[in-house]
Subunit: 673 residues, 2 copies
Amino acid sequence: MKHILATLLLITAIVPWCRSQQLHSGYPITPVAFTDVKITDHFWKDRLQANREVTIPLAFEKCEETGRYDNFVKAAHPDTSYKVEGFSFDDTDVYKIIEGASYSLQTFPDKRLSQYIDSVLDIVAGAQESDGYLYTARSMNPTHPHAWAGATRWSAVEHLSHEFYNLGHMIEGAVAHYQATGSRKFLDIAIRYADCVCREIGDREGQTVAVPGHQIAEMALAKLYLVTGDKKYLEQAKFFLDKRGYTSRKDKYSQAHRPVIEQDEAVGHAVRAVYMYSGMADVAALTGDSSYIQAIDRIWDNIVNHKLYITGGIGATYSGEAFGRNYELPNLTSYCETCASIGHVYMNYRMFLLHGDAKYYDILERTLYNSLIAGISLDGGKFFYPNPLASDGRFERQSWFGCACCPSNVCRFIPSLPGYVYATRDDSLYVNLFVANSSTLKLGGKKVEITQSGNYPWSGDMAITISPQKRQSFTLKIRIPGWVQNTPLPGDLYSYIDDKHTSYTIKLNGQPIEGDLHNGYFTITRAWKKGDKVEVSLDMTPRLVAANHKVAADRGRIAVERGPIVYCAEWCDNDVKITNILLSKKPIFDESYKADKLHGIIELQTNDVQVLNYDATGKLHVQDTSLILIPYYSWAHRGKGHMSVWLPTELYSVELTRPKEDILQNNGFFKQE
Amino acid sequence: MKHILATLLLITAIVPWCRSQQLHSGYPITPVAFTDVKITDHFWKDRLQANREVTIPLAFEKCEETGRYDNFVKAAHPDTSYKVEGFSFDDTDVYKIIEGASYSLQTFPDKRLSQYIDSVLDIVAGAQESDGYLYTARSMNPTHPHAWAGATRWSAVEHLSHEFYNLGHMIEGAVAHYQATGSRKFLDIAIRYADCVCREIGDREGQTVAVPGHQIAEMALAKLYLVTGDKKYLEQAKFFLDKRGYTSRKDKYSQAHRPVIEQDEAVGHAVRAVYMYSGMADVAALTGDSSYIQAIDRIWDNIVNHKLYITGGIGATYSGEAFGRNYELPNLTSYCETCASIGHVYMNYRMFLLHGDAKYYDILERTLYNSLIAGISLDGGKFFYPNPLASDGRFERQSWFGCACCPSNVCRFIPSLPGYVYATRDDSLYVNLFVANSSTLKLGGKKVEITQSGNYPWSGDMAITISPQKRQSFTLKIRIPGWVQNTPLPGDLYSYIDDKHTSYTIKLNGQPIEGDLHNGYFTITRAWKKGDKVEVSLDMTPRLVAANHKVAADRGRIAVERGPIVYCAEWCDNDVKITNILLSKKPIFDESYKADKLHGIIELQTNDVQVLNYDATGKLHVQDTSLILIPYYSWAHRGKGHMSVWLPTELYSVELTRPKEDILQNNGFFKQE
């Protein structure tokens, strides 16, 4: 009786969450939902529009074209002649695109799109078995399921069968669809499948003990608990975490080498890893299990101090799509999977909700403006799976991939962006991202209108207007990015060469105000009145970054940042071969806004650079030259060629080499290890 | 009875060995002893003379000065007040210098020196305990022996107590002294100590099971067996090898990590290692134990393919004075201990005696003319312990070391050189080193006079005259060095860039003759008559060497050789900073003989080189320049400064860097791992 009452209370408590700004997520800090934030930003509107007009239609088309819908139709009418052609997780692309389309509908209502989603959901619903199980790779031909699906339900779920992974993405999509549309159509499908898993998986009699081979169900089930109030989903999420490292699978690849609460290093497949850490944060927030928090705090420290690219990307090695060893951060062969960047945003967002420190948003912002959006072309139609920090000319974005996790993941992430701008805690309002918007959120139970205007990330000047319905006391917490405080990132992986650029100013209604930072936030507590205006001005002078000497690939090199943007040199902007350049020790960069270039960018240019070349007689020549840099995210839009984020300031890092065939031919030297 | 008879036969068999050319060592190939070869060579006479006139007197003087003789006197009259000041192996310096002086006496008879040695031996004899034990570090104060000596006899012999090591050097010195002088004075002391060890060490009842912490007793005991015919010494040597890896000590440092016959990689302390492999070769030759041979063949392959410096030096790391990992061959921090070079000669000499292949002599010659003699100054008075392949100005030879193993080791090695020139097998005579000499050796039981003349290593033209007493059929086997056949070394560690230089010619009595090489030897079988003359001409054009790409320290660099000599650039010959040079891809070197420089050298010079420098504004400038190279062995005779064997041909290996304080100061970057 007590339990039922608690559940009812919980449902009461969470119902308003689903479709409003106040997410009672169990975290100390409360998200402000994407539904409450209206983006007006130039930089992001462009991305949101491309997502809506190109990515989503393209992605749905690819689902049609590649038979992803057919799989659901076949599963609805099983036949022993069916053979699954793709991957056992192809269903999730459909769920992820519905998720993205749902977010998008909130910003751009679109009846035709709503109806299309409905029709897709009809097809999905048809594939659900009577007990809720939904996995087309098995259902379409249960006698000969997909090679990866295992002989029986769950039998290969810790390895190649993605039954729980599919459940996770289904829930993520279904909750977004419910939040955006109010329709329970997708949510009910997800609940039925989740109930099936909760019935069949566990350590009670008659149940199967198994954990996901690819994590995501953990955070999804925590979310389903919040939406439904049914605690069994939270318990299932916790079960998946707590059994990890104790079942048949025990390897680093899937973070199953040790119990999760004993882990202290980011290892294995990077996407699985950050999805798991995000799930641990969610379950910790909802259950108060501090051992989870201690573990993810340790792992976060490990990433930030040893395993994070300057672009915010994670995953150093192609082998296993995995984290490398500490300080192993190669550039040409960096993996930095787009999905891993998205998961890294999820993780840092949750770390912020737990701890309220701006340092997590410094990483989130870095990942967002660099590694993550590099994963999709400016027009929304082409995609990178890995996002290397250097190119020898072999890389270009593709329209789609056989394994389509990355396109469908950016498809769902981009339109969710409005949900990352603000957060609240009691009487405090956090301004976490500088994105022009017009929003109405609740603070102390009262509606407050807030707008941001400006031209971030090109300009560091933002105006924030606060309009409570009537004079209201609360605290505004404006995130002052680490990069303007001479700290590119927490930890000692990266450092600014120069410490001149540590300036920012804050004005309140035209008057400069001073204040200390608390956890990275400039804090103004006052009785706010309608139209109060806060002006934030961040020094956007380009900054030179050096990596810790232990990062072999970056020795004798610098990277250049301006605001949150990491820059790179690309072949097509420069007459000289960018592998052959040598920057002076502290190059000075001029900036100019190019409205017509790459959807509008600030370009950087320096003359403090020389180019090295050998002449036909083998003699080295050095010439003064100039070098143009563009934002890293905007590379690879103009054909294939050289690109590099880290630029040589020392001879030993200049890549110019004599033609190898002249030095040692045919004798097996220069073979790779 | 049978055993006694066998022993008697053996004694009969070996007695002629001791003081004549024919060493019945058990090996398929028979050494020609140092006693039968009279060096007339310009290059080596200089070294032998310096050894006699400077090194030996200096070394004896240091023994006096540092109390090494006093230790023996104190041991003869123990007192509880005595405290050993040096190392527990200081006794061996005395034995090693006597060994060197004995060899020297053969070339330069010197009555005063003989008498001095006699007087030293009187002091040594006085320190021997009544049962033969001779270890001053314990005997001078048995109640408080040297800290390294252990509480009781043998108790620390596998770790810091060098009781067996001292025995080994004692036997080596004693046998040389006996061979050179015919006096048994030192030999009898050694036999008494060896008998003591044979009585007390073993696995019979009442005995102690222990193996040497620092090897050498293995090869010494094998030699003592040959001199005395007493098989117990050979058995003791085999015991030491066979028990290794089974006793209390089991570590890589002393090659006790696995049973010796299971080893396949050169690991741990390099001197201990090559002394052990030499002992294994000796015992294998005398016992026919092929498992030893298989093990040292594997280890030799490992060294040649993965762990050998171009100078023939071994031991990559200061830490543990040890072999590094495969391909770990740093230059500035290369260890290449002088003693390890000597041990490496011992090892390769024995491998040749086992297998009869010239490839072992290619390594022996490389080590001899480069890493080994770099360990002692041209005047014989200063010494290197490590022999780095590059210097940043910190290295200079010293007059002596607290741990004096290297000076006393070169002191004994240099005058033993005549023993490495020839060898015989049945009716074959091997010419292994090109050293001018005049010798009489026995072939088929008959005396054959042989002389070499020429100016090796500066000239590649040598004349060999053969004078049997009367016309005699036999085979002359002339080693054709790998370096003249475009193979700097066996294995794939090093390679010549250019394959133009593969020429050598052989003339017999003025007529060119052709022939195939067998195991690296040009073979002439004929009936030789008095005064037959063979002229050997080796192409001495400088050769450019590249290292396997897996050797990180040598990437983008070349080394230069001429004949058997490895060259280096030293600061004092060049106006430009040698860290800043960039050679063209195939520099051409001119050569000139400088009679008055560094005791006479061929100097190499190239104009195919540029020098790089930053100006005050931080801009890079490149200028044509020239570069002079000198033989590596002759470096560090004119003050301290930069030196490098491996010279940059690629930008990334040019060491010129911007001043670090300008790039990243005070922020903990560039700290070493």
